[in-house]
């Protein structure tokens, strides 16, 4: 056969590419369900048009309070306002028994990284979108994926397995923190971000 070598090469390369681009990410990441379906759009879009800081508050001493606690949902969802199954679950499983919703945090950084929203949002005047993309306008929660080896959320590395950042950027590796800080001429000392 004239093209045997070429055929073998192409099929070998094909198998390697499938392994690398399809099988490897599947093997590396485990998908875990979010505890509840949640639509930012239902709240931040029309007609509710809530602002981000009505849920994601800063405490009086300046600390960022992160994902709202279930008491904050109860203000409006003491009883179902709409007819969706998600809301029904919210009321019955979390609001009424006063149980916190165990959200999986996409952007959760490893234990040894130290990050302050106060510094970035209040003092640095950065927009949420700069780091979190359009999560605040999303209609549903995308799958939460966790790296089987490190236990980190996939959002640290980013959705693209090759490591090339997507647009808008969803990755938040150390080099992205450093990159932005370098543009702003800030200190690059390790302990400014490591704890």
């Amino acid at each position: 056969m004239k093209y045997k070598g070429l055929f073998l090469f192409l099929s070998g390369a094909g198998i390697a590419l499938v392994l690398g681009w399809v099988v490897f990410p599947l093997a590396l990441y485990r998908t875990e369900p979010q505890p509840l379906s949640f639509s930012h759009k239902a709240h931040t879009g029309q007609p509710a048009s809530m602002s981000c800081d009505s849920c994601h508050e800063f405490a009086e001493d300046g600390r960022f309070l992160g994902i709202p606690v279930v008491d904050q949902c109860a203000v409006c969802h003491a009883e179902p306002v709409g007819k969706t199954a998600g809301e029904k679950r919210l009321v019955e499983e979390f609001v009424k028994p006063k149980r916190e919703i165990p959200w999986k945090v996409y952007s959760r950084q490893p234990d040894n990284a130290w990050f302050s929203h106060t510094t970035h949002v209040k003092k640095g005047a950065l927009k949420c979108e700069e780091c979190h993309g359009d999560h605040g306008q999303s209609e549903s929660l995308r799958p939460y994926q966790v790296n089987r080896i490190s236990g980190y959320s996939r959002d640290i590395w980013g959705p693209n397995i090759s490591g090339i950042p997507s647009q808008p950027r969803l990755d938040m590796k150390m080099d992205r923190c450093l990159g932005c800080h370098a543009e702003k001429n800030m200190s690059q000392g390790c302990i400014s971000c490591h704890k």
Partner: protein, 255 residues
């Protein structure tokens, strides 16, 4: 652009005030998530970022004198030995605070830094830290626990430094309020033997204290410009700190 956050934190330990009670060691261990020592741990394998040594003048009874020396990382400013030898860049001197920081995740466990450290202030995790069941809940979330196979040391409670800086940012300042950033050992000392603050701020207590006559550094001749100063009115203590005469005796001596 000018670099923000210019500070050079340092300490002055008054050896004439130290009673050797060990409170600083406890406070340090709690603050910095040091796991309880293993049963088989000894002087060399245990982890004590802050350690109180006893030092005596080697004389017999009526003339015998002992001082206690709280010894943590001396935060060398110049040609910092551990930084110089680290093949991994796991140790660096933070330009904004002068703190010599250690990134355990970067450490490969060669322990070169421990050999290089003139003060024996570095420790190694010979095994994974473990806490008695339930005690993990009492861990300090501002300090990441370390893992087996890495070196660690005092970093001037940089968890508290982070928290103080975030508080400053909330108030729109770039410098933390000195009252907000006090390491655990300083805070816990019942005889107030340790002063802490910004050495570059001429008005601070430490900056004044380290200029006083009986203030000295341990092994000053190595010229590492450590940022932990000591003071004592006893000449033999100052002489011993030079390291020319080794303290004698086995029990608890600096040797």
């Amino acid at each position: 652009m000018e670099q923000k956050n210019k500070a050079r934190y340092g300490m002055v330990v008054d050896l004439d005030r130290c009673t050797g009670c060990g409170n600083c060691m406890m406070a340090c261990a709690v603050e910095n998530n040091l796991a309880p020592a293993e049963k088989k741990a000894n002087d060399r394998t245990g982890i004590t970022w802050m350690r109180v040594y006893a030092m005596n003048n080697g004389k017999a009874f009526p003339a015998a004198e002992t001082v206690f020396v709280p010894m943590a990382c001396q935060q060398c400013d110049k040609e910092t030995p551990c930084i110089a030898v680290c093949p991994q860049n796991a140790v660096d001197r933070d330009p904004g605070s002068g703190i010599v920081g250690q990134v355990p995740q970067r450490c490969l466990g060669c322990r070169y830094c421990m050999t290089a450290c003139p003060y024996h202030a570095r420790y190694f995790n010979w095994s994974d830290p473990s806490w008695p069941a339930g005690m993990e809940k009492a861990l300090n979330p501002d300090v990441a626990p370390r893992m087996r196979g890495v070196a660690e040391k005092c970093n001037f409670c940089h968890g508290r430094w982070h928290a103080a800086r975030a508080r400053a940012a909330a108030q729109g300042r770039s410098e933390p309020d000195p009252a907000d950033y006090i390491p655990a050992c300083v805070e816990s000392c019942p005889s107030r033997a340790i002063l802490f603050g910004n050495l570059d701020d001429a008005g601070s207590e430490v900056a004044k204290a380290c200029q006083e006559g009986n203030c000295f550094r341990f092994l000053a001749r190595l010229d590492t410009e450590s940022k932990v100063y000591y003071r004592s009115a006893k000449p033999w203590v100052r002489e011993m700190a030079e390291g020319n005469r080794m303290p004698s005796g086995k029990d608890g001596n600096l040797s």
